[in-house]
């Protein structure tokens, strides 16, 4: 009995603390500054750890400064230069060198596969999962690491799981309740409140520190918000600062419950799996949504898949054919405190969330950008590329023309034909037969 009473007391104090220090401030959008203090301590500890490592490790083993340095230094000269096309040249036996070198470069390291593994860190952040290249340094460092493990798994994890649980339940209950009300401004205001509070709670559940820049460009009603995709948490990060209408497939299970509850309070656009295949239907519904100026802006991730936040891949043109104003948003995570990238082939959703909740924190920057619309004479693909460049520049990411779906599908033959065309022009087109 004693044990049960004690456990009960601990649980109730725990819950009151959580309520007082986290839930109530979230509801009012106020911050108590606890996470800032936590972050400061964290930064100091990591700096100390980095200095220890740099002292202890001989020079060659330390990785270079550029975090996404590759295994090889690539020779990016175009085909003409690589084949010494300064004069109109004929076929030479050594032409095969150029193609085989390019081929071997691709085998050693290709741009696409690289983007689907987590970014390598320059210095260790005391998480085993990022510890690829570091060796044993000193006892003190190991002790700090052990302390870190204890803190993360025994203190932070239960707290975060509790918060997540509370957050999701509040969301479901809140939206269902609000859904009972008749349509009107009260309903909208309440639904916004519920959404924002629950999102803030969930962000605290991940110890998220988010910096929003250029809030004056926040997406307005009747527009489309477009962002680069790194993980499912992107949605959480954006909705903490404003309400959006989401677009997606209807799922089963817990996600399905959340989806159904959310749609009661404000109109999101959920599609059945069969409807997703019909592009016209999808475009029609989205057009209807944005035509209604009172409805919330739609949130779309045009890459279609999660990329590892070092680059932006091809934007699918479908979202840019709908019309309306596009509000681009760039999201950049700081990998020092926790890697937010979801490698869906490596981790399923549950283990991903677990990894998130046992990282130090999720720190990211969100830049809102001025709205863009399609110009005269510009087709959807060009417009998509323009928006993509803008986002890449703002977020400090590199730009790649490849399709993120390449990680699953084979590449088209048109690219190969292009190379063959270039080469043929060189050896035949110059009339030097």
């Amino acid at each position: 009995m004693e044990g049960a009473e004690l456990a009960g007391k601990i649980l109730s104090t725990w819950l009151t603390l959580v309520l007082g220090l986290i839930l109530l401030p979230s509801a009012f959008g106020v911050s108590l500054g606890i996470s800032e203090i936590y972050m400061k301590i964290l930064v100091k500890t990591l700096e100390w750890a980095t200095i220890r490592i740099e002292k202890g490790v001989p020079k060659e083993s330390v990785l270079k400064n550029s975090a996404s340095v590759g295994i090889i230094q690539r020779d990016e000269s175009p085909m003409e230069k690589g084949l010494s096309g300064l004069r109109g040249r004929d076929f030479e036996l050594s032409d095969v060198f150029y193609f085989s070198k390019k081929g071997l470069e691709a085998i050693v390291e290709d741009e696409v596969t690289q983007r689907f593994s987590s970014e390598e860190l320059v210095s260790w952040n005391l998480l085993t999962r990022t510890n690829i290249n570091f060796q044993y340094i000193s006892l003190r460092l190991t002790m700090v690491w052990v302390l870190g493990v204890i803190v993360r798994y025994c203190v932070l994890l239960p707290l975060r799981v509790t918060l997540a649980f509370i957050g999701i339940s509040l969301l479901v209950i809140g939206t269902t309740l609000v859904g009972q009300l008749p349509d009107g401004s009260l309903k909208n205001w309440l639904s916004e409140l519920v959404h924002l509070t629950c999102c803030r709670i969930c962000v605290r559940a991940l110890s998220g520190t988010i910096h929003y820049h250029n809030k004056q460009y926040r997406p307005q009603k009747g527009g489309i918000c477009v962002a680069n995709h790194t993980s499912p948490i992107d949605v959480l990060i954006l909705t903490t600062d404003g309400c959006y209408a989401m677009v997606g497939q209807v799922h089963g299970g817990l996600m399905g419950i959340i989806q159904r509850a959310m749609v009661k309070a404000c109109p999101h656009v959920w599609f059945e799996r069969s409807e997703m295949k019909d592009r016209h239907l999808v475009t029609k519904r989205l057009k209807e949504h944005i035509a209604d100026k009172k409805k919330l802006p739609i949130l779309i991730f045009p890459e279609g898949t999660c990329i590892n936040n070092t680059s932006v891949m091809m934007f699918k043109k479908g979202s840019f054919e709908i019309g309306g104003t596009i509000h681009p948003v760039a999201i950049k995570y700081n990998p020092q405190f926790g890697d937010a990238f979801w490698n869906s082939s490596k981790y399923n959703m549950v283990s991903y969330l677990l990894r998130m909740m046992t990282s130090w924190a999720i720190v990211c920057d969100v830049w809102y950008m001025p709205p863009m619309s399609r110009e005269e004479g510009e087709d959807a693909v060009q417009f998509a590329n323009r928006v993509k460049s803008a986002i890449a520049v703002q977020g400090g990411l590199t730009e790649l023309p490849w399709d993120g779906g390449l990680k699953r599908a084979k590449v088209k033959d048109t690219f190969k034909e292009e190379q063959q065309k270039n080469y043929s022009k060189m050896i035949v087109g110059n009339g030097s037969l």
Binding site: S94, F99, L104, N133, Q135, I427
Partner: protein, 215 residues
Amino acid sequence: MGSRGSHAARIPDADSIRRETGFSQASLLRLYHRFRALDRNKKGYLSRMDLQQIGALAVNPLGDRIIDSFFPDGNLRVDFPGFVRVLAHFRPVDDDDSSMRDPKEPEPLNSRMNKLRFAFQLYDLDRDGKISRHEMLQVLRLMVGVQVTEEQLESIADRTVQEADEDGDGAVSFLEFTKEMLWCPACIFSLGCAGVVCSQHMGVNCTEGFHLCFQ
């Protein structure tokens, strides 16, 4: 567990591979990770299909020939040592090789001769030691696709074989092939690789350019 991150122990036969290929420890480790990343089903070896799934390789006109070089003698699998052995051909030439090397030791994989052998076997489809006119045509066809007519291609192949063929047997042997390659007028000053390649030729007629700068 622990902060022990040195994974060289996980690479089987790391020392002998290093001696054979000349890769540094760090490069070997990264290549091992690359091997594991390409081996999607965690089989421990790579099959043709694993390499074919690399996008940039699939669009390379010589992609299939390059993949073939990893699977000599009809093998269907390539393990990590085999993988690294092929890549070792592309290490930059060690400049001190000819004079100071111990003649009893086998030639390093990245020597000029071995690089040329690698290039030769890209052409020599049936591995008989000679590039016939037919084989030349096939490789040319791979590189140009459907952009060039059969007649044009045949005349290019004929011209190339005639220029290279010294003993008149209608095919290009390895020796004749090397004579075509090693002559590089701008390359009298042999430059080692410090990211610098023969600035005039950038890879043509010059094995200096036939390397990747592993860092």
